[in-house]
Amino acid sequence: MSSARSITALDPGRSVVEQLRERVAAMERRPAAQPVATLPVLADLVPLQAGSTYAVDSASLALALVAGASRAGEWVGFAGCADFGVEAAAELGVELSRTVLVPDPGEHWLEVTAALVDVLRVVVLRPPASVSERTAGLLESRLRTRSSVLVVQGDWPRAEARLSVERSVWTGLASGTGQLEERRARVVVRRGARAPQHADLAWPGAARIEAREVERVREIRASG
């Protein structure tokens, strides 16, 4: 076997023994109960849990959900994303050497996703047009026995949380001059019957915008 193992960094602020004890406890429980590393800006909105499915409606959100786990040393995979933007992924911190792409799984998308879920920590899937409740159930039962996360870009019958971009604005373009600089978007997280949560994110880098700056975005929108 290769001894190359990715090592997750421990939080230096807490005692090492305590953190290791937590990890051991997490391993002894069923795999689904483990938390999966998430980007700090998304950690309070959608803390990823192994064994769950998350639905997103845009490629940048899918990439932002994956980036945290990849930065923490996990393997990630993308199925059905033929238009994967490598540079954007690298900018967000996705480790390309630990990324598996299946750009066009075709009719085998379910088998391919199931096989990827077996070995990778986070799998992004862009499913074909319609997915039946039963097919989703098959994949979810596989997810529960493995400690993986499925991020679906598109419609999915059941999801732990749904993330969508409510409105988005680009800065940097004037009339006839300038270039795209930054994109700001309001992201809505809906989970179950809970009230939807909102967050304002800015790309590149998926950074959180404070409320004060949101006002500025509004002004830009009003003026533009």
């Binding site: 290769s2 393997w75 238009d83 680009w170």
Partner: protein, 456 residues
């Protein structure tokens, strides 16, 4: 008991090169003679000579390249022959093996040595010498003093007396440290191992270091060095016998559950897991169904039981359309009553390679295996690895390399690339421009003709 095959490197190399054992030959490493055989020694070839000197002494010398792997591989056969006589064989190095003397079984130690010699000569190994003594060092020296296909037995407690009269240059075979020590001892005027053994212990340790002290202990016959015998590969098969034979798949599956559990537990006992298992089913004393199943991770008892079910069910319904028309009651029946189901591990791997790591995620090996499975489903080049490269447009700045291939002909990233598309990198990059969706206005081109930034 120590079995010594002198000049094993030469024997192994000549065997591979199909040369005659009687011709003078030498194995060279870094242009120096490492090992030479008897005929070559008779011509004056010595260890440590340069290639040209050796050829000058003996023009017909066969020169062979050094290859420790070849020596070890060839010696495996000798180990097997001795292991047939008695388990617990330790290979000290290619050409030298140790085994606890099977004296009481063969009557006397002499008889045991004779049996070992006979077995090896029958197996095609001509130059064999056997030494039997209390400790490993004495036995090795005894083997070195023995004649071809003969043996020397040192009586119990006779080691110090036997070693006393040996000259110190026997230590030359103990590697470079030994050669250095021999030179030093000869300059000190110590000619035999007995001279060294007579010196006070702490003085030897001060002057000659730990290695010298250990040689002194060996020379006094005090060091009872034990060897770690290799364990013969364990028997890991598991089978279940049905009496009377069963003819229903359900019953067979149910009955093989405990055996499957035992199979997995005994593998786990050796800290192994099976990733490939052959399931054999016997009917009327012949194997009627045998199939190798591979698992992306490793087999648990439940997986094995499933495999038995699938295998026997498919074997029972090979008659195709006819079986589909059979009554529901019959579909679970197999063609002949099965009397035995056997699990044979084909591929076993250390369990550590499959465990969840405490300090990180699963090992990369596991990922490789999983990806290989996906490649089996959708084709070799359908699985890609993203890499960055230099270029101007977003599509030119990336490449998707087939998994398992090395990226070649990539443009360097660290060049300036004047004229590259500025701004944040797009999350979606299209290989071919998608059809434009925007309304066409006078004087503008469709928006779809440049890589779109953002997402939709």
């Amino acid at each position: 008991m120590v079995v010594w095959c002198p000049d094993w490197s030469v024997v192994a190399a000549l065997e591979e090169a199909e040369g005659s054992l009687r011709s003078p030959a030498a194995v060279l490493h870094a242009n120096l003679v490492e090992v030479c055989n008897g005929p070559a020694r008779a011509e004056g070839v010595r260890r440590g000579q340069r290639r040209r000197d050796a050829q000058a002494r003996c023009p017909e010398l066969v020169l062979l390249p050094a290859n420790p792997d070849r020596d070890a591989r060839a010696f495996e056969r000798v180990l097997g022959i001795i292991e047939d006589l008695r388990p617990g064989v330790a290979a000290l190095r290619p050409g030298l093996l140790a085994v606890r003397a099977p004296g009481s079984w063969y009557g006397t130690e002499t008889a045991a040595a004779a049996t070992a010699c006979q077995a090896l000569v029958d197996g095609g190994v001509w130059d064999v010498r056997v030494g039997i003594a209390d400790d490993l060092f004495t036995a090795e020296q005894a083997a070195r003093t023995a004649e071809v296909q003969s043996w020397v037995v040192v009586d119990e407690g006779g080691s110090p007396a036997f070693l006393r009269r040996l000259p110190v240059h026997v230590l030359q075979d103990d590697g470079p440290r030994g050669r250095e020590l021999v030179g030093l001892l000869q300059r000190l005027g110590l000619r035999t191992l007995g001279d060294l053994a007579d010196l006070p212990g702490d003085a030897v340790e001060h002057r000659l270091g730990t290695y010298g002290a250990s040689v002194r202990r060996r020379a006094r016959g005090e060091e009872r060095a034990l060897f770690a015998a290799r364990t013969p590969p364990p028997e890991l098969d598991a089978d279940v016998v049905f009496e009377p034979p069963l003819d229903s798949v359900e019953a067979i599956t149910f009955s093989s559950r405990t055996t499957a559990e035992r199979f997995v537990t005994q593998l786990a006992h050796h800290q192994l897991v099976a990733t490939g298992v052959r399931v054999e089913a016997e009917a009327d004393g012949v194997v009627c169904s045998s199939r190798t199943w591979l698992h992306p991770r490793h087999f648990s008892a439940r997986d094995l039981v499933d495999r038995v079910h699938w295998q026997l069910q498919s074997a029972g319904s090979t008659s195709g359309a006819a079986s589909a028309l059979r009554a529901r009651k019959e579909t679970g029946a197999v063609r002949a009553p099965i009397e035995r189901v056997r699990f044979v591990p084909e591929v076993v791997e250390p369990a550590a390679a499959h465990g969840e790591a405490l300090w990180g995620s699963a090992s990369d090996d596991l990922v490789e295996r999983g990806v290989a499975r996906v490649q089996g489903m959708v084709g070799f080049d359908a699985v890609r690895r993203p890499v960055l490269q230099g270029g101007r447009s977003p599509a030119a700045r990336q490449a998707l390399v087939p998994w398992g291939e090395r990226a070649v002909d990539l443009r360097p990233v660290d060049r300036p690339w004047p004229g590259r598309v500025p701004g944040p990198a797009p999350v979606r990059v299209f290989a071919a421009p998608p059809p434009g969706r925007g309304r066409r206005r006078r004087g503008t081109r469709g928006a779809g003709h440049r890589p779109r930034c953002g997402d939709g």
